[in-house]
Every structure is written in structure tokens, then in C-alpha cells.
């Protein structure tokens, strides 16, 4: 009997060995079915042995059953794993067979755009917010007092002729610059003052390089011990942040009625790298803004003490900044509102 059992054990071992070998050859679910029926089907050694278990004496039956079932479970388990594996391969194959045209266009979301002018204003505001400035605002229709007089342009001042002004009446006009915001802000606030003021301004001038309305940003800092070196630092910071670190900045003396000393500020031309080209009229420099130390006369209008505080102011044309940064070559584009222009920003 012992011999019979030993023989069975050997057969079962052999069977499992064969199964393992056969399994390696299985490549499809069909082949797996055949494998299953070969080793677990009615005619398989395992099925036959269990079927004929009564041929074993009663006392060894449980042992035989257990031995056979162990092998059966092992085989079943392996078949199941292989089936899962093959199913997954089959699923994957089916997915791969699906034809899908990725190149068909998607459902469009309409593309919106911020106006380039506001985009540039926001860029500049961000820079100054970072430097601790606030944003101030003022009316677009102004009095002669705020637009000219309190900014050191008394009546008959020749500098007034630089501003071709739109008037509502004798004393009321469309502001020709954002500078009146300086006065309005200082009237209401004591130093220290750190503000920038963006907005529309108006001048009676209309040709290829002038529009009757355009946009400026004004800056003003008034505090104890503010000097020209601080102004230079601030505007260099602006130019480097806005145009890029590689751009050179230069300050040229100039004249504005409400600053002294006054400067015009240039950045090196990005088109020619400063060698001189058509865009920079051969100078290698592009003018971006006007600036200077606040003329002490202005403090009298707002009751600041010129011996205690000093300050600087600057102003720039947004359209010009935009043109230089984005390579826009025609000022008129800003107000034609051609969708093909607007959508680019």
C-alpha cells in the first residue's frame, strides 16, 4: 500500500512538473482552456484519482485526498493567475485595436484677452507694489489748477505750449498728464508718500505718432532724505524688471517744470543691442520716461516743508512702454481695437 501511495505521489509530482512545463507554452485563453482540461478535466490524473479514491483503504483516504487536492489547488491557482494575466493582455489588445483620431479639433473655448495697455499697467503696478507703493487715482477732467498751476506751470509759462490741451471751459480741461494726481494725493496725505498713478491723459495732437488720448503712469515718492541716487535706483529697478536685467539704463538731464533736477531716462535698444539702428534712430538708446526730483515749489501748494522732505516723481507713456517691450510698431493700433491685435495679448 505504501508503495501505491508513493507511486501516486511520484505521479502527482510528475503531473505538476508537466503542468509547469506545459503552462510555459500557453499563449492564449484557448490554450489555457486546453491546459485546464488536460490537468483538471475528467480524464486528468487528479480527477481520476479523486474519482477512484475508494480504491484506497479507508485509513489512507484522507491523506490521499489531501495530497491530491493540494496539487489540484496549486494548479487551479496558477491557472487563475494566468487567466487574469491573459485577460488583461486581451483587454489591452482590444483597446489598442480601437481607432481614435487625436488630431481632430477639440471643442473650442473662446480665447479672451486683457487689453495690452492694462496688461502693461498691471505689470508696472506689480513692480511698484513690490517696492511698497500704493496705487492712486484722480479725475480725468481736471482743473487748470491741478493740471498746470500747482505743477509749476503758471499761466503764460512756455512749457504749457508743450501740452496742447483740450478745454471744457477756461478753468476746466482734460488732464494732459497724470501728474495732477501727485498734488491731489499730497493734499490729502502727509509724507511718507509712495504712489504710482496710472490713467488716461489727453492732448490735442493726432498724427502717426500721437493719439488725442493715451495712457500714462505717474510715480511719486516723498519722504525724509530721498535723493537723486534713490531715483536712479528705483527707475533702474523698474527698467530691469520690465524690460530685462540685460538692459542698460541711462539718465539724461532734461527739463520739466515740476521737477528739478529733471531727467529723461533711456534703456539700451533691444533691437540692435545698443549699436544703433532704425528703431533707436541710430542712438542705441530708447527713451522711456521723464523723471526728476520734485521741485520744492510744489510742496508749498500742499503744505509740506521743503527743508524736511525731498522726493522724486516720474511719468511714462504706457503705449510707448508696450511698443518697446512687445515690438508694436504703430501707435494707432492701440485704439483701433482690431480683434486680431487684441487677441495677441
Amino acid at each position: 500500500m505504501e508503495e501505491k501511495i508513493n507511486l501516486l505521489k511520484q505521479d502527482l509530482n510528475k503531473t505538476f512538473e508537466n503542468f509547469t512545463n506545459d503552462k510555459k507554452e500557453v499563449k492564449s485563453l484557448n490554450e489555457l482552456d486546453l491546459l485546464e482540461s488536460k490537468y483538471l478535466g475528467k480524464k486528468s490524473l487528479i480527477a481520476q484519482t479523486l474519482k477512484n479514491i475508494n480504491e484506497f483503504p479507508h485509513e489512507v483516504k484522507p491523506f490521499v485526498g489531501k495530497t491530491v487536492n493540494e496539487v489540484r489547488n496549486k494548479i487551479e491557482n496558477e491557472i487563475k493567475n494566468l487567466r487574469d494575466e491573459l485577460n488583461l493582455i486581451e483587454f489591452d489588445r482590444k483597446l489598442r485595436e480601437e481607432k481614435f483620431d487625436l488630431t481632430l479639433p477639440g471643442r473650442l473655448l473662446p480665447l479672451g484677452s486683457k487689453n495690452i495697455i492694462n496688461k502693461v499697467i498691471e505689470e508696472i503696478q506689480e513692480i511698484f507694489i513690490g517696492l511698497g507703493y500704493e496705487i492712486a487715482e484722480g479725475p480725468e477732467v481736471e482743473t487748470d489748477y491741478y493740471n498746470f498751476e500747482a505743477l509749476n506751470h503758471p499761466p503764460d509759462h512756455p512749457a504749457r505750449s508743450l501740452h496742447d490741451t483740450f478745454f471744457i471751459d477756461d478753468k476746466i480741461l482734460l488732464r494732459t498728464h497724470t501728474s495732477p494726481v501727485q498734488i491731489r494725493y499730497m493734499e490729502k496725505n502727509k509724507p511718507p508718500v509712495y504712489i504710482i498713478a496710472p490713467g488716461k491723459v489727453y492732448r490735442k495732437d493726432y498724427d502717426v505718432t500721437h493719439t488725442p488720448m493715451f495712457t500714462q503712469i505717474e510715480g511719486l515718492a516723498v519722504d525724509n532724505n530721498i535723493n537723486f541716487g534713490n531715483l536712479k535706483w528705483t527707475l533702474e529697478t523698474l527698467a530691469h524688471s520690465f524690460f530685462g536685467k540685460d538692459r542698460k539704463v541711462r539718465f539724461r538731464p532734461h527739463y520739466f517744470p515740476f521737477t528739478e533736477p529733471s531727467a529723461e531716462v533711456d534703456v539700451s535698444c533691444n533691437i540692435c543691442g545698443g549699436k544703433g539702428c532704425r528703431v533707436c534712430s541710430g542712438t542705441g538708446w530708447l527713451e522711456i520716461l521723464g523723471a526728476g526730483m520734485v521741485d520744492p515749489n510744489l510742496y508749498k501748494y500742499v503744505n509740506y516743508n521743503p527743508d524736511e522732505v525731498t522726493g522724486f516723481a516720474f511719468g511714462m507713456g504706457i503705449e510707448r512702454m508696450a511698443m518697446l517691450k512687445y515690438g508694436i510698431d504703430d501707435l494707432r493700433l492701440f485704439f483701433e481695437n482690431d480683434i486680431r491685435f487684441l487677441r495677441q495679448f
Binding site: 511698484f128 477732467v141 478745454f167 476746466i172 509712495y194 537723486f228 527739463y255
Partner: protein
């Protein structure tokens, strides 16, 4: 203003030590901006002085001559088509390689005869617009030498922009003085000792009626001036400075104005009606014929120069025709005067006449210049004609002190510039600018000269002088940390940016339009008939009628943008603008107009074109309303939005409403009136809304609070009713909400149907209702009871029935 390097050389010793480029850069960096620097010699390369030895007729061409031309080193054969020359004439000869216009001279055969160059006309040389024959030079020139160098065309031209505070720099001597200050080279001033010539006889009288308007009037009479042409060097120097030669006397006045900054005017002395000149204001309706041929009627503000009969010139602006210099003029009355700037500015604006002279007077030039200019005229005229003139100068002036003492503290320099500048260096800068000074303990005591009297008034003005000559580039940058609390946007600035961003993200393009529109457009949109839009502000001096008034709404601008884009074949638009509108303030309290910020949105055309996976759709009212709801939900409260029918004349009468927030009007929305759209040739529907942004932002939710997320599931039911088509959705919704109780949390219209199966005059509405309680799971039965109640009430109120 243009001046030349060679001219500057006359007033700056050893200018040659610096190249023209160097000078240009130094001027720019000290505040006298050189816009352009041009070398003029290049144009005349390979053009030399030559002399015609002899000439014969061209054997094969009637109109050509064969000339033997001496260029010093050899004799050349030249074929020439002109016939205005004779033997021994000096000419400008273009040799091989010279460029005449776009044409490069080559040795060539002309009708079989060899020609080694071309004799040039004035036009070909760019010296005049038109010319006949070739240019015949007069004077002593060396054969074979560069033409340009010999006649003064080999030079560097500086195009300079002078700031309005520096009228002294509108002159060669002014720029020369600046160069002296920045380079340290010696300035050679024009100085004349002529005190003994002033008013030594009374043969001629000058009377100034108002010395404020004319602080100085100096004059000199030049008798029997011999008839001479302007020498080439002067003519060409003027040409390089954009001034055309007219005749010797006029050329001299222009030359001296450029050189000294003092405008001069020459009268034909014989044509003056008296030996007396009166400077007065014009009489009412007095008129004068000017040199340019125009007749001008003057008013009492205008300063005129008059003899005892008539006005003979408008002071500082233009001379009169009757007393103009002409080819017969022998005796010249030369005026060198100083007029009050603001008056000249006013007159020149009024007459629309701007001249080099008026430009200088407007900026208040130095009255001390008048005598210098007269003497310079005499000097140059003497040099050219060899004549001597009577040593008499007539002079009448307002005697004022034009020197000013200013103390400049070193501490002030440090305070403004942030650096210490060496005392001696500061003093030297002022010295070189012509400002005499001496150093005291802690300040410089400076004496401002007459020619800077107008612009150097205060200590700060001297700080600026120090700074610009010291060089802005030499002032080191210093970091500045704002000492205010911290940088920030105001609430309304932040909200405006958010709203703008929201619109951008929702696919809208932001436009910006001019604030002005025409009255015509205003009336076209019938804004004059709308109480809330009619009070416009008018510009008293508009650019033209398209820019006459300030907008009271952004409506016309956005419609114009649509129309413009349609003309560019862009038919589908979703645009918005955030800008101010302006209203006349009728309250009388405040002079300034009322400014309001508006957000306007316009939709027109196709929402989407037909695509492979969806069909074409045209924008309708509900696209715009959807945006409005979105904005309300995002920034205010969705349920607070109400549209109330209100007819605006520019809107479709049935699609025209006020946008209300909690029963307060906050904007308008509608479809632009089809008739207006038609008249504008726009072939598509246009939807527009405008929101009072200031108000919208004030009402926006500043204090957002967390709301508990629902804990219990909701139950949804559908409700389809048939109802009279006149009943609006909001009436139905209101009724549903009224009866739905607090557990009705959401209501959505998912179908609207009119047509087959529905009786005429009725419509079917289908709603999805969502119920939920905060504290428990609702039972189906509860919801059923509520929905029954809703149906009963809809039936009672509107006669609505459940749709089968």
C-alpha cells in the same frame, strides 16, 4: 535746431580735441539733446573744384559741349549739356565714383566722345530745388581740392533739441558755452566795446509805448550797402542748418540769429514813412500785409512795429510786405529788439504763425543780446563788402537789474543729489557756465548773469546745474526701501482687476476707446432723449467734430468696434471695456464733471461656428444674461439679480431692461434696436450691457463666510406644466419658490416648448426641483406633498396644468 561743428569751432578754443561724436554725446548727457549728428561731406565725395579751360561743340550732338577742364594736376575731357559757362569759370566737377542722387559717376563715352566726369548743377549738388545750368563758383578756390571742403559743405551737423527753459541755447554761442562747461575748453565770446555809439544822434527816433511788452528796441542804419552775393561759406552753412539763402541782408539776419540767438529784422529804410519807429499795440481791426503775402487783421493785444503812418511788422513774428528788403534796397534799417514772451506766444498762436524768431522770443531771451547782434551784423557785413558804416546805434530799453545773487548750500547739494561734490569742483562748474561765484563757509555765493536770468532763480536751479554738468551718470544709485507700511491695491482696484480677469478668462476681448465721440453719434443712438445719458460734457476746442463730446456711455464705442471689425471681416465679437464716462454736473456745487467707471459688454455674431462635433450657434440675449449671472454669482449674490423691463430708445423695445441688484438699478441690458443696427449696415443681432462698476464693486461681498456643506442627500423631481405664454419664467419661479418651502434648494428650467401638441397661446415649461433638509434625509412623501401644493397654486394663479 541745427548747427555745425565748424561754426562751433569759432567759439570754442581747441574744439578739435574732441570729435563731433564725442561732443554730441557730451551735450546729450548734459541736457542738450543731440537728436542727430550727420556728416555732410560724404555726399560730396569725389567732387572737386575745377576750372574750364576751353570748350567746343560736341561733333555729334547739337546741345552738348566738349570741355577741357583743369583740376590742378591735369586737364580732363568732360562732355557737358549746359551752356551757362565760359572759359575760366570755376565749377564743381564730379569724378568717377561720385554720387549724384542715386547715380554714380563713371568715365564713359557720350555720343562717341570720352567724358571723365560731370560738371554739376546746384540741384544735382542738393543746394537748391531747381537750378538752370551748372553751378559757377565765385571766389578764390584751389583747383583739384574737395568741393565740399572749399565751399563749407564738409561739416558735421548737430540737430539739437533745446528744452524750453534754455532759450540761451537756441544759438551757436549758447551751445558753445555749454561745450565749454562740459569739456573745460575756453569759450570765445562775442564782445564789442560800443558804449560810445549808443544814441549819439537823434536822426532816427525810437519810441516804445509799453516797455513791459518791449523791454528793449535797438537798431542801426546801414547806408548804401553795395550789391553783393552771400558768400558760399555762409550760404552753405545756412543751408546745412535748413535755412535757404535769399539775399545778403536777409541771410545775415538769419545767420546772426542762429549764431547769437537774437532775431533781427531788416527793413528797407527808404520804405519807412518816417524817421521814427514806434513800438505799440495794434489798433482794433488794424491790418497788415505780411512778407508771406497774407493780410492779417490784428487786435489790441498784438505788438506791432510802426512808422508814423502804418504798422510795418508784427513784432517778433513777421515783417510787413511794404517795407521788405528787395533787390533795389540800398539802405537798411536793422531792428534788434526784445519782446515780451507771453505776448508773442499769444499772437503767434492766434495767427497760427510760428517762426524761428517767435520761438525765441516766446522763451524770453536775453535783452543784452540786441547790441551784440547789431555789432555782429556790422562786423560780418564789413568783412563781406569791405564797407565801413556810421558808428551809431539807436537803443531804447527798460532799465532793470538782470543779475541775481543766489547762495547755494553744499548741504543742499548733498540733500538732493545724495553725494558730496567737492567744493572747488562745484564752483568751477558754475564758473564755466558763466556764473561768477565764490566759496564761503558752507555755501557758494553765485551771481547769475543776464543770459540765464530767466531760468536760474533759486538754489535748486543751481543744484540742477551742478548735477547735469557733473554728470547724472556719476551720481551713484542708492537703494530705496519704501518706508510706508506696505505696497497694496485698494479694494476697488483689486476688484476691478479681478473683474477684468474674469472677463478675459470667460473669453472676452478687452477694448479701449477714446473718451470722446461726435455729437452726431450721440444723437444717432438717441442718447439725447434718455434722461440717464443726455447730460454730456462738451469740449470747447475739439480736434474735429468726431471728438466733440465726452461719452456718457460706452455704447457707441463698442458698436463702432463691432462695425470696424465687421469691415475687417471679423463678424463674431465678444468684447468689453472698462472706462470712465462723464456727466455734466448740474448741481452747481462742483465745477468738475461727474466721472463714473462703467463696464460694458457687447456680443454679436456666432457663439460658435459649425464644427465636426457640434452645430453652429448664434449669440442670443441669454448668452449675455448668462455672463451677467456669472458676474453676479461670482462677485455679488446670484439671487439678487433682477432684470426689469425698461425701454431705452437704443434697445429693442421688448428686449430692454434695467439690471437691478436688490431693487437698485446698477446697469442696463438689451438688444440694440434692429433699426439702428440696420442703419449702421450691421447685418446681425447685437447685445449690449453696461454696469455701473463703482456701484457694483461697493456692493460686492467683502466678507465671505464659510457655509456648511450639506450633510443629507437631496431629492430631485421634474415638473412639466402647460401655461399661458404671457406668464414669464420668473413669475413661475417665484410661485414655485413661494410654495416650495425652505427645503426647495434649487430650481432649474430644463425645457421650454411651444408648438405641436401644445395649444396655441400656451407653452410648456419643465423644471427640475431639488429638495434637501439641513437636519435629516427627506422622505419621498414629503416632497410629493410639496410638489402637489406647487401645482395647485400654479393652477390657481396662472391656470397652469401638468403636462401629460
Amino acid at each position: 535746431m541745427k548747427i555745425t561743428y565748424s561754426w562751433l569751432e569759432e567759439f570754442v578754443a581747441d574744439l578739435k580735441d574732441f570729435s563731433p561724436q564725442d561732443i554730441a554725446n557730451k551735450l546729450t548727457m548734459s541736457g542738450t539733446e543731440v537728436k542727430r549728428l550727420e556728416y555732410t561731406g560724404d555726399k560730396y565725395k569725389n567732387i572737386i573744384i575745377a576750372q574750364i579751360e576751353s570748350f567746343i561743340k560736341h561733333p555729334n550732338a547739337d546741345k552738348l559741349s566738349l570741355c577741357k577742364v583743369n583740376i590742378g594736376s591735369e586737364i580732363l575731357n568732360i562732355v557737358c549739356g549746359a551752356n551757362n559757362f565760359k572759359e575760366k569759370d570755376l565749377v564743381a566737377l564730379a569724378l568717377e565714383g561720385a554720387k549724384i542722387g542715386d547715380f554714380t559717376i563713371k568715365k564713359s563715352k557720350i555720343r562717341g566722345e570720352y567724358s571723365e566726369g560731370m560738371m554739376c548743377s546746384e540741384k544735382e549738388l542738393g543746394l537748391s530745388q531747381e537750378s538752370e545750368g551748372i553751378l559757377i563758383l565765385e571766389g578764390n578756390y584751389k583747383l583739384g581740392e574737395s568741393f565740399a571742403r572749399q565751399v563749407g559743405l564738409d561739416d558735421w551737423v548737430f540737430e539739437i533739441e533745446v528744452t524750453p527753459n534754455r532759450p540761451d541755447c537756441l544759438s551757436v554761442i549758447g551751445i558753445a558755452r555749454e561745450i565749454s562747461a562740459i569739456t573745460g575748453l575756453r569759450f570765445k565770446s562775442l564782445e564789442y566795446d560800443c558804449q560810445n555809439e549808443i544814441n549819439i544822434n537823434k536822426n532816427f527816433q525810437i519810441e516804445i509805448k509799453n516797455l513791459q511788452l518791449c523791454p528793449r528796441y535797438s537798431a542801426k542804419i546801414f547806408k548804401d550797402i553795395v550789391d553783393k552775393k552771400t558768400p558760399d561759406w555762409m550760404k552753405n552753412r545756412l543751408l546745412l542748418c535748413d535755412i535757404r539763402s535769399i539775399n545778403l541782408v536777409v541771410d545775415l539776419t538769419n545767420y546772426i540769429m542762429l549764431e547769437t540767438g537774437q532775431p533781427l529784422h531788416a527793413f528797407d529804410a527808404e520804405l519807412l514813412a518816417s524817421n521814427k519807429i514806434i513800438v505799440r499795440t495794434a489798433q482794433k481791426n488794424e491790418s497788415i500785409t505780411l512778407i508771406d503775402g497774407t493780410v492779417r487783421t490784428l487786435n489790441e493785444d498784438t505788438i506791432v512795429i510802426a512808422d508814423e503812418k502804418n504798422a510795418v511788422a508784427i513784432a517778433g513774428i513777421m515783417g510787413g510786405k511794404d517795407t521788405e528788403i528787395n533787390e533795389k534796397t540800398k539802405n537798411v534799417f536793422l531792428e534788434s529788439a526784445n519782446f515780451w514772451g507771453p505776448s508773442i506766444m499769444k499772437t503767434s498762436k492766434k495767427l497760427g504763425l510760428r517762426s524761428e524768431a517767435s520761438n525765441r522770443f516766446e522763451k524770453k531771451i536775453d535783452p543784452m543780446l540786441t547790441i551784440i547782434a547789431l555789432k555782429r551784423f556790422e562786423e560780418l557785413l564789413n568783412k563781406i563788402t569791405g564797407q565801413k558804416f556810421e558808428k551809431v546805434i539807436y537803443d531804447c530799453y527798460l532799465d532793470v537789474n538782470r543779475e541775481r545773487n543766489i547762495n547755494l548750500r553744499f548741504s543742499k547739494i548733498k540733500q538732493i543729489l545724495g553725494i558730496d561734490i567737492e567744493r572747488k569742483a562745484a564752483s568751477l562748474i558754475l564758473e564755466r557756465l558763466g556764473i561768477k561765484n565764490k566759496i564761503s563757509d558752507d555755501y557758494i555765493s553765485a551771481l547769475v548773469p543776464s543770459f540765464r536770468f530767466e531760468d536760474l532763480e533759486r538754489e535748486i536751479d543751481l543744484v540742477e546745474e551742478i548735477a547735469r554738468i557733473y554728470g547724472f551718470e556719476n551720481i551713484p544709485t542708492q537703494k530705496l526701501d519704501s518706508r510706508s507700511s506696505h505696497g497694496k491695491y485698494s479694494y476697488s482696484q483689486k476688484m476691478t482687476m479681478k473683474i477684468r480677469q474674469t472677463l478675459e478668462d470667460s473669453g472676452f476681448n478687452e477694448v479701449i476707446n477714446y473718451s470722446f465721440i461726435s455729437l452726431k453719434e450721440f444723437n444717432f443712438f438717441k442718447l439725447n432723449e434718455e434722461t440717464s445719458f443726455k447730460d454730456y460734457v462738451r469740449i470747447s476746442n475739439p480736434l474735429n467734430e468726431d471728438f466733440e463730446i465726452l461719452r456718457t456711455t460706452l455704447l457707441q464705442s463698442l458698436v463702432k468696434n463691432l462695425k470696424d471689425n465687421i469691415s475687417r471681416k471679423i463678424l463674431n465679437l465678444r468684447i468689453f471695456e472698462i472706462s470712465k464716462v462723464f456727466f455734466k454736473d448740474n448741481s452747481g456745487k462742483n465745477n468738475l464733471p461727474i466721472e463714473k467707471t462703467r463696464l460694458a459688454v457687447l456680443l454679436s455674431g456666432k457663439a460658435n461656428l459649425k464644427s465636426w462635433n457640434y452645430s453652429e450657434r448664434t449669440y442670443d440675449f441669454y448668452d449675455l444674461k448668462g455672463l451677467l449671472e456669472y458676474l453676479f454669482e461670482k462677485f455679488l449674490l446670484k439671487d439678487s439679480l433682477k432684470l426689469l423691463n425698461n425701454e431705452y430708445k437704443f434697445f429693442h423695445p421688448s428686449i430692454s431692461a434695467d439690471i437691478n441688484f436688490n431693487n437698485e438699478k446698477i446697469g442696463i441690458i438689451g438688444k440694440i434696436h434692429p433699426q439702428l443696427v440696420n442703419l449702421l449696415d450691421i447685418r446681425q443681432d447685437v447685445y449690449f450691457m453696461e454696469i455701473d462698476l463703482d456701484n457694483f464693486i461697493i456692493k460686492s461681498d467683502k466678507k465671505q463666510q464659510f457655509k456648511q456643506i450639506p450633510q443629507f442627500p437631496s431629492i430631485s423631481i421634474d415638473l412639466a406644466i402647460v401655461i399661458d405664454e404671457k406668464v414669464t419664467n420668473s413669475e413661475v419661479e417665484e410661485e414655485i419658490y413661494k410654495n416650495g418651502g425652505k427645503n426647495l434648494v434649487n430650481l432649474r428650467l430644463f425645457d421650454l416648448y411651444k408648438g405641436k401638441q401644445i395649444e396655441d397661446g400656451k407653452k410648456s415649461l419643465a423644471y427640475s426641483l431639488e429638495f434637501r433638509a439641513d437636519d435629516r434625509t427627506l422622505k419621498d412623501l414629503e416632497v410629493e406633498i410639496i410638489s402637489k401644493r406647487i401645482i395647485e397654486n400654479l393652477n390657481r394663479k396662472f391656470g397652469a396644468v401638468l403636462r401629460q
